[in-house]
Amino acid sequence: MAHIILTENLPGIRGLMAFRPQTAKPLNALAEVLLRSDEGLSKGERELIATYVSSLNDCFFCQNIHGAVAAYYFDEDLVKQVKADHSVADISDKLKALLNIAHRVQMGGKYVQEMQIQEARNAGATDLEIHDTVLIAAAFCMFNRYVDGLGTFAPDDAEMYKMRARKIAEETGYSNSKPN
């Protein structure tokens, strides 16, 4: 049971967004700008970073919904590989290096060191890609904490996440997604 009374029976962050639409607006706008662009990193790569960080934070709702969106762009097996051990996953060396940075960000900002940045640059990462990786990882350290810190409920049904992911990818995105 959630720690506060969420009147509508909506899972994860959706119940919180219905509880407080004022903060939902910039939170959704941030997710939209950060995840739904193909400039530098693709939408799929951005969702993979979000899924990976949510999995490190053990946030069930976020890793399942963003994992489902990432699988929409790639496939379920790749998402599983990245969560299990991204260093041997079937992804580019650049994305591996960026996921190393994301991992450091998840541990704490000061854990990111020159060495990980240099490795990402050697693999071809630009300033914008490094910036977006750090901000996606940081943002999910927020979303995950918001969702779990208030004890929201998360459905087990994988089909629900798949359906919702398709809707996000094909129709609503994040900024237009209504809580219902």
Partner: protein, 182 residues
């Protein structure tokens, strides 16, 4: 030295939102709504929670700037901020705020560790759903800002006077997206 090419001598979050204003805009809107607009918690209390979490995350820029904003807003009780950052359990603040800071500390460390008992204790001390919601979201938000600012090694001033001025600006003008200098 920042890890990416940021405007020189612009500190912390400001250098990042100037670098990418399209993500900067929702970030500043979030800070403004969360820390300045309506809430059962005072602006001073909310800045204090932000400084407390930033200090636990060892983010010097966010700790110093939000502590300065909280000192400005606490006015003649500005020492409260230093008592809290040093040892909140024995600080001269309400039991309600103590129990909310305890929750903020759990959110910072690992949000899954917030228990129904902690929330119950906050309620007994007078916290409402909105107090609890705002505390958790402020704590979570600063776990983002702190990582963003330190993860890209942004410029962190060492001069305390610089933070005092920042605190006054944050306390009077709030969170206004900075523009690139020409």
């Amino acid at each position: 030295m920042p890890y990416i090419d940021l405007e020189k001598d612009v500190p912390g979050i400001r250098s990042l939102v100037i670098y990418r204003p399209d993500t900067g805009k929702p970030l500043y809107e979030l800070a403004q709504i969360l820390l300045r607009e309506d809430s059962p918690l005072s602006q001073a209390e909310r800045e204090l929670i932000a400084a407390f979490v930033s200090s636990r995350n060892d983010c010097t820029f966010c700790t110093c700037s939000h502590a300065a904003a909280a000192r400005y807003l606490y006015k003649d009780e500005s020492k409260t901020v230093d008592f809290v950052l040093n040892d909140y359990e024995n600080a001269p603040i309400s039991e309600k705020l103590k129990s909310l800071l305890k929750i903020a500390g759990f959110v910072q460390a690992d949000a899954r560790t917030v228990t129904a008992q902690d929330v119950e204790m906050a309620r007994k001390n007078g916290a409402t759903d909105r107090d609890i919601h705002d505390t958790v979201l402020i704590a979570a938000t600063f776990c983002m800002f702190n990582r963003y600012v330190d993860g890209l090694a942004t410029f962190t001033p060492t001069n305390l006077k610089a933070y005092e001025l920042m605190g006054e600006r944050m306390g009077t003008l709030g969170y206004v997206l900075p523009q690139k200098s020409t």
